[in-house]
Protein backbone atom coordinates (compact mmCIF):
# COMPACT_ATOMS: atom_id res chain seq x y z
CA UNK A 1 0.00 0.00 0.00
CA UNK A 2 1.16 3.50 -0.84
CA UNK A 3 0.07 6.66 0.99
CA UNK A 4 0.30 9.71 -1.27
CA UNK A 5 0.32 13.14 0.37
CA UNK A 6 -0.33 16.04 -2.01
CA UNK A 7 0.72 19.66 -1.36
CA UNK A 8 -2.98 20.51 -1.28
CA UNK A 9 -3.27 18.38 1.84
CA UNK A 10 -5.23 15.68 0.05
CA UNK A 11 -4.26 12.12 1.00
CA UNK A 12 -4.74 9.14 -1.28
CA UNK A 13 -4.04 5.44 -0.78
CA UNK A 14 -3.03 3.08 -3.60
CA UNK A 15 -3.87 -0.51 -2.72
CA UNK A 16 -3.48 -3.82 -4.47
CA UNK A 17 -6.69 -5.47 -5.68
CA UNK A 18 -7.83 -8.29 -7.95
CA UNK A 19 -6.58 -6.35 -11.00
CA UNK A 20 -3.00 -6.76 -9.83
CA UNK A 21 -0.90 -9.74 -10.84
CA UNK A 22 1.61 -11.57 -8.72
CA UNK A 23 4.41 -14.11 -8.97
CA UNK A 24 7.41 -15.17 -6.98
CA UNK A 25 10.53 -13.11 -7.63
CA UNK A 26 14.28 -13.66 -7.34
CA UNK A 27 14.47 -12.58 -3.71
CA UNK A 28 14.10 -16.03 -2.19
CA UNK A 29 14.94 -15.30 1.46
CA UNK A 30 15.09 -12.21 3.64
CA UNK A 31 15.34 -12.04 7.41
CA UNK A 32 16.45 -9.27 9.74
CA UNK A 33 18.89 -11.68 11.43
CA UNK A 34 19.45 -14.43 8.89
CA UNK A 35 20.40 -12.48 5.78
CA UNK A 36 19.17 -12.31 2.23
CA UNK A 37 19.31 -14.59 -0.84
CA UNK A 38 18.86 -13.47 -4.42
CA UNK A 39 18.62 -15.94 -7.31
CA UNK A 40 19.13 -13.88 -10.48
CA UNK A 41 17.97 -16.85 -12.58
CA UNK A 42 14.43 -16.12 -11.34
CA UNK A 43 14.37 -12.42 -12.31
CA UNK A 44 11.31 -11.76 -14.54
CA UNK A 45 12.94 -9.66 -17.28
CA UNK A 46 10.72 -6.80 -18.37
CA UNK A 47 8.25 -7.05 -15.48
CA UNK A 48 8.31 -3.26 -15.07
CA UNK A 49 7.48 -2.61 -18.75
CA UNK A 50 4.04 -2.42 -20.33
CA UNK A 51 3.23 -5.48 -22.38
CA UNK A 52 4.96 -7.85 -19.97
CA UNK A 53 3.40 -11.30 -20.10
CA UNK A 54 3.05 -12.81 -16.65
CA UNK A 55 2.65 -16.27 -18.11
CA UNK A 56 4.12 -18.14 -15.17
CA UNK A 57 2.55 -15.94 -12.52
CA UNK A 58 -0.79 -15.80 -10.78
CA UNK A 59 -3.54 -13.62 -12.15
CA UNK A 60 -4.69 -12.21 -8.85
CA UNK A 61 -2.87 -9.82 -6.60
CA UNK A 62 -3.56 -9.80 -2.90
CA UNK A 63 -6.62 -7.68 -2.30
CA UNK A 64 -6.28 -4.85 0.18
CA UNK A 65 -8.44 -4.66 3.28
CA UNK A 66 -10.20 -1.54 2.02
CA UNK A 67 -9.52 0.40 5.20
CA UNK A 68 -6.96 3.05 5.99
CA UNK A 69 -3.94 1.92 8.02
CA UNK A 70 -3.68 2.86 11.66
CA UNK A 71 -0.67 4.92 12.57
CA UNK A 72 2.20 5.88 10.35
CA UNK A 73 5.05 3.79 11.63
CA UNK A 74 7.04 4.24 8.43
CA UNK A 75 7.22 7.99 8.75
CA UNK A 76 10.76 8.42 10.16
CA UNK A 77 13.84 9.13 8.04
CA UNK A 78 14.34 6.73 5.13
CA UNK A 79 17.26 4.29 5.29
CA UNK A 80 19.79 5.27 2.63
CA UNK A 81 23.32 4.55 1.48
CA UNK A 82 25.20 7.32 3.31
CA UNK A 83 28.71 6.54 2.07
CA UNK A 84 30.60 3.68 0.45
CA UNK A 85 33.80 1.89 1.45
CA UNK A 86 36.25 0.26 -0.93
CA UNK A 87 38.42 -2.45 0.65
CA UNK A 88 41.60 -1.30 2.40
CA UNK A 89 42.92 -4.87 2.11
CA UNK A 90 41.87 -8.22 0.73
CA UNK A 91 43.28 -11.72 1.14
CA UNK A 92 42.48 -15.02 -0.59
CA UNK A 93 42.72 -17.29 2.44
CA UNK A 94 42.11 -20.42 0.36
CA UNK A 95 41.08 -21.02 -3.26
CA UNK A 96 37.69 -19.41 -3.80
CA UNK A 97 37.52 -17.71 -0.39
CA UNK A 98 38.42 -14.00 -0.16
CA UNK A 99 38.27 -11.83 2.97
CA UNK A 100 37.78 -8.11 2.36
CA UNK A 101 38.77 -5.60 5.05
CA UNK A 102 36.89 -2.29 4.89
CA UNK A 103 38.82 -0.73 7.78
CA UNK A 104 35.83 0.34 9.88
CA UNK A 105 32.99 -1.39 11.67
CA UNK A 106 29.74 -0.01 10.22
CA UNK A 107 26.21 -1.08 9.23
CA UNK A 108 26.98 -2.54 5.81
CA UNK A 109 25.39 -3.90 2.68
CA UNK A 110 27.69 -5.47 0.05
CA UNK A 111 27.66 -4.17 -3.53
CA UNK A 112 28.98 -6.99 -5.69
CA UNK A 113 30.09 -7.04 -9.31
CA UNK A 114 30.80 -10.58 -10.44
CA UNK A 115 31.50 -12.53 -13.63
CA UNK A 116 30.66 -16.17 -14.09
Amino acid sequence: MLRLEYTSGQVEFVRTDSQWQARSGPLTYSDVYGGEDFDARLYPEGWDQSGFSNSSGRGDGAAGTGRSPDGLSGAGWPIRVIESFTPVAQQEIEPGVIVYDFGQNAPLMPRLKVAG
Binding site: V32, D37, F38, R41, W77, I79, N105, L108, L112
Partner: protein, 215 residues
Protein backbone atom coordinates in the same frame (compact mmCIF):
# COMPACT_ATOMS: atom_id res chain seq x y z
CA UNK B 1 28.10 -19.20 -15.37
CA UNK B 2 24.42 -19.60 -14.62
CA UNK B 3 23.92 -21.11 -11.18
CA UNK B 4 27.27 -20.04 -9.72
CA UNK B 5 26.79 -18.85 -6.14
CA UNK B 6 28.55 -16.07 -4.23
CA UNK B 7 28.14 -16.31 -0.45
CA UNK B 8 29.04 -13.21 1.57
CA UNK B 9 29.50 -13.54 5.35
CA UNK B 10 29.92 -10.38 7.47
CA UNK B 11 32.01 -10.13 10.63
CA UNK B 12 33.46 -7.52 12.95
CA UNK B 13 36.62 -9.52 13.67
CA UNK B 14 39.02 -11.92 11.99
CA UNK B 15 41.23 -14.68 13.29
CA UNK B 16 45.05 -14.60 13.07
CA UNK B 17 44.71 -17.13 10.24
CA UNK B 18 42.85 -14.51 8.20
CA UNK B 19 39.38 -16.03 8.18
CA UNK B 20 36.52 -14.09 9.74
CA UNK B 21 35.62 -14.48 13.40
CA UNK B 22 31.93 -13.98 14.17
CA UNK B 23 31.44 -15.08 17.77
CA UNK B 24 28.22 -13.09 18.21
CA UNK B 25 26.31 -14.68 15.32
CA UNK B 26 28.41 -17.73 14.47
CA UNK B 27 28.64 -16.88 10.80
CA UNK B 28 24.98 -17.76 10.48
CA UNK B 29 23.84 -14.51 8.91
CA UNK B 30 24.92 -14.01 5.32
CA UNK B 31 23.86 -13.01 1.82
CA UNK B 32 23.91 -15.27 -1.24
CA UNK B 33 23.75 -14.25 -4.88
CA UNK B 34 23.07 -16.86 -7.57
CA UNK B 35 24.25 -15.80 -11.02
CA UNK B 36 21.89 -15.58 -14.00
CA UNK B 37 24.77 -16.28 -16.37
CA UNK B 38 25.32 -12.87 -17.98
CA UNK B 39 28.70 -11.43 -18.94
CA UNK B 40 28.92 -9.60 -15.64
CA UNK B 41 26.33 -9.00 -12.96
CA UNK B 42 25.91 -6.33 -10.29
CA UNK B 43 23.89 -6.87 -7.13
CA UNK B 44 23.19 -5.26 -3.79
CA UNK B 45 20.64 -6.51 -1.24
CA UNK B 46 17.36 -4.69 -0.66
CA UNK B 47 16.76 -5.33 3.04
CA UNK B 48 19.46 -7.06 5.09
CA UNK B 49 22.32 -5.02 6.53
CA UNK B 50 24.75 -5.96 9.26
CA UNK B 51 27.39 -4.37 11.43
CA UNK B 52 30.70 -5.54 10.04
CA UNK B 53 34.22 -4.53 9.10
CA UNK B 54 35.02 -7.70 7.12
CA UNK B 55 33.17 -9.52 4.36
CA UNK B 56 34.22 -13.09 3.63
CA UNK B 57 33.29 -14.07 0.08
CA UNK B 58 32.98 -17.74 -0.88
CA UNK B 59 32.82 -18.49 -4.60
CA UNK B 60 31.01 -21.69 -5.54
CA UNK B 61 30.81 -22.96 -9.13
CA UNK B 62 27.50 -24.28 -10.48
CA UNK B 63 29.13 -27.56 -11.39
CA UNK B 64 31.48 -29.60 -9.21
CA UNK B 65 35.08 -28.87 -10.25
CA UNK B 66 33.79 -26.19 -12.65
CA UNK B 67 35.37 -22.73 -12.82
CA UNK B 68 34.46 -20.52 -9.87
CA UNK B 69 32.83 -17.14 -10.46
CA UNK B 70 35.20 -14.16 -10.32
CA UNK B 71 34.68 -11.03 -8.22
CA UNK B 72 35.21 -7.91 -10.36
CA UNK B 73 34.65 -5.51 -7.46
CA UNK B 74 33.34 -5.54 -3.90
CA UNK B 75 32.15 -2.33 -2.26
CA UNK B 76 30.53 -1.93 1.17
CA UNK B 77 27.66 0.56 1.30
CA UNK B 78 27.13 2.14 4.72
CA UNK B 79 23.36 2.29 5.36
CA UNK B 80 21.38 4.04 8.08
CA UNK B 81 18.68 6.63 8.63
CA UNK B 82 19.24 9.64 6.39
CA UNK B 83 19.17 12.10 9.30
CA UNK B 84 21.13 15.29 8.56
CA UNK B 85 24.16 15.71 10.82
CA UNK B 86 23.66 18.81 12.93
CA UNK B 87 26.50 18.66 15.47
CA UNK B 88 30.16 17.82 15.73
CA UNK B 89 32.90 17.91 18.37
CA UNK B 90 36.58 18.75 18.14
CA UNK B 91 39.23 19.57 20.72
CA UNK B 92 43.02 19.86 20.84
CA UNK B 93 43.02 16.51 22.68
CA UNK B 94 43.25 13.68 20.15
CA UNK B 95 41.96 11.12 22.67
CA UNK B 96 38.68 13.03 23.07
CA UNK B 97 38.39 13.39 19.30
CA UNK B 98 38.82 9.65 18.84
CA UNK B 99 36.23 8.92 21.53
CA UNK B 100 33.81 11.17 19.67
CA UNK B 101 34.53 9.33 16.39
CA UNK B 102 33.94 6.00 18.15
CA UNK B 103 30.64 7.15 19.64
CA UNK B 104 29.54 8.65 16.33
CA UNK B 105 30.02 5.28 14.59
CA UNK B 106 28.05 3.56 17.36
CA UNK B 107 25.24 6.06 16.84
CA UNK B 108 25.28 5.63 13.05
CA UNK B 109 25.37 1.86 13.38
CA UNK B 110 22.10 1.86 15.30
CA UNK B 111 20.15 4.71 13.69
CA UNK B 112 17.63 2.76 11.63
CA UNK B 113 13.79 2.79 11.53
CA UNK B 114 14.14 2.36 15.31
CA UNK B 115 17.19 3.04 17.46
CA UNK B 116 18.65 -0.46 17.76
CA UNK B 117 20.85 -1.83 20.54
CA UNK B 118 23.37 -3.32 18.11
CA UNK B 119 23.64 -3.82 14.34
CA UNK B 120 24.08 -7.60 14.35
CA UNK B 121 22.66 -10.08 16.90
CA UNK B 122 19.62 -8.27 18.31
CA UNK B 123 18.80 -5.14 16.32
CA UNK B 124 16.07 -4.41 18.87
CA UNK B 125 14.48 -1.05 19.60
CA UNK B 126 14.60 -1.09 23.40
CA UNK B 127 13.07 2.11 24.70
CA UNK B 128 16.04 2.75 26.95
CA UNK B 129 18.12 3.50 23.85
CA UNK B 130 15.69 6.25 22.92
CA UNK B 131 15.71 7.54 26.46
CA UNK B 132 19.31 7.19 27.64
CA UNK B 133 21.01 7.86 24.30
CA UNK B 134 18.36 10.14 22.84
CA UNK B 135 19.73 13.45 24.14
CA UNK B 136 23.30 12.69 22.94
CA UNK B 137 22.00 11.54 19.55
CA UNK B 138 20.02 14.71 19.13
CA UNK B 139 23.15 16.86 19.62
CA UNK B 140 24.59 15.13 16.56
CA UNK B 141 21.65 14.57 14.21
CA UNK B 142 18.29 16.07 13.29
CA UNK B 143 16.08 13.29 14.62
CA UNK B 144 12.70 14.99 14.90
CA UNK B 145 11.04 12.77 12.26
CA UNK B 146 12.55 9.58 13.70
CA UNK B 147 11.57 10.39 17.30
CA UNK B 148 8.07 11.34 16.10
CA UNK B 149 7.87 7.90 14.52
CA UNK B 150 9.22 6.23 17.70
CA UNK B 151 6.60 7.99 19.82
CA UNK B 152 4.00 6.73 17.37
CA UNK B 153 5.38 3.19 17.79
CA UNK B 154 4.99 3.56 21.58
CA UNK B 155 1.43 4.76 21.16
CA UNK B 156 0.63 1.93 18.73
CA UNK B 157 1.93 -0.66 21.23
CA UNK B 158 0.24 0.80 24.29
CA UNK B 159 -2.58 -1.33 25.65
CA UNK B 160 -5.99 0.17 26.46
CA UNK B 161 -5.24 0.14 30.19
CA UNK B 162 -2.15 2.26 29.56
CA UNK B 163 0.51 -0.43 29.83
CA UNK B 164 3.36 -0.04 27.38
CA UNK B 165 3.80 -3.57 26.09
CA UNK B 166 6.90 -5.62 26.99
CA UNK B 167 8.03 -3.16 29.62
CA UNK B 168 7.57 -3.42 33.36
CA UNK B 169 4.91 -0.98 34.32
CA UNK B 170 6.45 0.88 37.21
CA UNK B 171 10.04 1.03 36.10
CA UNK B 172 10.61 1.22 32.40
CA UNK B 173 7.15 2.35 31.45
CA UNK B 174 8.18 5.82 32.51
CA UNK B 175 10.68 5.79 29.66
CA UNK B 176 7.92 6.38 27.12
CA UNK B 177 6.79 9.39 29.09
CA UNK B 178 10.33 10.74 29.35
CA UNK B 179 10.87 10.36 25.61
CA UNK B 180 7.68 12.28 24.87
CA UNK B 181 8.78 14.95 27.27
CA UNK B 182 12.17 15.61 25.74
CA UNK B 183 10.90 15.28 22.17
CA UNK B 184 8.47 18.08 22.91
CA UNK B 185 11.15 20.13 24.64
CA UNK B 186 13.78 19.73 21.93
CA UNK B 187 11.51 20.16 18.93
CA UNK B 188 9.48 23.00 20.41
CA UNK B 189 6.32 21.18 19.38
CA UNK B 190 3.44 20.55 21.74
CA UNK B 191 2.57 17.49 19.73
CA UNK B 192 5.40 15.00 19.41
CA UNK B 193 5.15 14.91 15.63
CA UNK B 194 3.43 16.95 12.97
CA UNK B 195 2.71 13.76 11.06
CA UNK B 196 0.74 11.91 13.63
CA UNK B 197 -2.36 13.97 14.04
CA UNK B 198 -4.30 12.90 17.07
CA UNK B 199 -1.65 10.39 18.04
CA UNK B 200 0.18 12.97 20.09
CA UNK B 201 1.92 12.07 23.33
CA UNK B 202 -0.58 13.63 25.62
CA UNK B 203 -3.35 10.99 25.67
CA UNK B 204 -0.85 8.18 26.16
CA UNK B 205 0.77 9.96 29.07
CA UNK B 206 -2.58 10.73 30.68
CA UNK B 207 -3.66 7.10 30.43
CA UNK B 208 -0.32 5.92 31.80
CA UNK B 209 -0.61 8.32 34.72
CA UNK B 210 -4.06 6.98 35.45
CA UNK B 211 -2.74 3.41 35.44
CA UNK B 212 0.20 4.10 37.71
CA UNK B 213 -1.80 6.13 40.22
CA UNK B 214 -4.54 3.51 40.52
CA UNK B 215 -2.25 0.43 40.52
Amino acid sequence: MKGDVVKIIPAELRKPSGEIDDPLCGGKSFWTYTLAGKEDETWTPKFFYRGARYLQVELRPAETNGPAPRVISMVADVVHAAAPATGTFQTSNELFNRIFTLVRWAQRGNMMSVLTDCPHREKLGWLEQDYLNGPALRYNFDLNPLFGKIVNDINDAQQPDGLVRALRRNTRCSVGMAICSFVSRRSGAVRSSRLHGNNSCSPAILIWRAVTTTA
